[in-house]
């Protein structure tokens, strides 16, 4: 298993992601956005940050960069892809995931820990993710929205990966920090091989830094390491 960590101008979680994945004992390397190939990689991590300064819309320009054509092809073939924070925005803008991410309900940039309730067993990423996890968020535009039909499909097809909840796992309006539709914190594509989420598993890999629940969220990478 070797993981491609994409780098756009303005990515700022790329080093955390690379270091985090390597700390799990999994090989990883950066791939610059102007590259057109993912040859030699078996998973893709689209990191957070402010790609292209969030110009136009968050993730809009990055989603149309050369490497994203390769990511689309890779995902179509069933390859595992995870996008975190700005990476989630990029995957939505690229049309690899449904819906979009808007300015938080209360306009504030939110930088705090959240509880997540895993809600899906679908695909590569969710296997074994079977308990509440505590991970950080850091975003201004994380309010997940989609049309009613898409929302019904996501709920009906088990494609809501995570919902914001309280420490007891209750999905409440209060725990829904950014005002996302149905408290959605992460979604999956139809096959479940593409996961997008606002919270940062790569920032929760070490108890010294406040928690290690991110290890569970990225455990799929370790499982198929061989």
């Amino acid at each position: 298993m070797k993981v491609a960590v994409l780098q756009f101008p303005g990515s700022n979680c790329d080093q955390d992601a690379l270091h985090g994945i390597q700390s799990l004992g999994v090989a990883a390397d950066y791939v610059w956005h102007q590259e057109a190939s993912l040859a030699g990689f078996e998973a893709v991590f689209v990191p957070g940050g402010f790609s292209y300064g969030d110009y136009l819309r968050c993730g809009a320009i990055a989603a149309r960069s050369p490497i994203m054509a390769a990511v689309a092809e890779f995902a179509e073939a069933g390859g595992p892809v995870i996008g975190v924070c700005n990476g989630f925005q990029v995957l939505c803008e690229a049309g690899l995931l449904p819906g979009g991410l808007l300015l938080n309900r209360d306009q504030k940039f939110l930088c705090q820990g959240v509880w997540l309730k895993p809600e899906s067993r679908l695909g590569f990423w969710m296997e074994g993710v079977d308990r509440l996890v505590r991970v950080p968020i850091a975003h201004g535009e994380g309010r997940y929205v989609c049309d009613a039909e898409t929302l019904a499909r996501l709920n009906g097809e088990g494609r809501v990966a995570f919902r914001y909840c309280d420490a007891e796992g209750r999905v409440t309006e209060e725990a829904n920090v950014n005002g996302s539709m149905d408290s959605i914190a992460g979604v999956l594509n139809e096959k479940g091989n593409v996961l997008g989420m606002m919270p940062h598993p790569e920032r929760a890999l070490d108890d010294l830094l406040g928690g290690s629940d991110g290890r569970l969220l990225l455990s799929a990478l370790v499982r198929v390491r061989a």
Partner: protein
Amino acid sequence: MVTVRVYVTLKPELLDSAGRTVADSLHRLGFEEVADVRVGRMIELKLESFDEARVKEMSDRLLANPVIEDFRFEAVS
């Protein structure tokens, strides 16, 4: 040269939290008649030739995100 203005707005059914902030601020300034504010984006293009279908394609593929936004455009000169 043709100047074309593309107006991009959040779909009406989606909460515009930036708009809500602007409305609150207008109320604080005494403009109580403001019932609602929606914030959009205007993108001005200078084109060597104006082809409606191509501007629609530009808007669809990059300038707006049809999942969350509507757009319209007009040639102004």
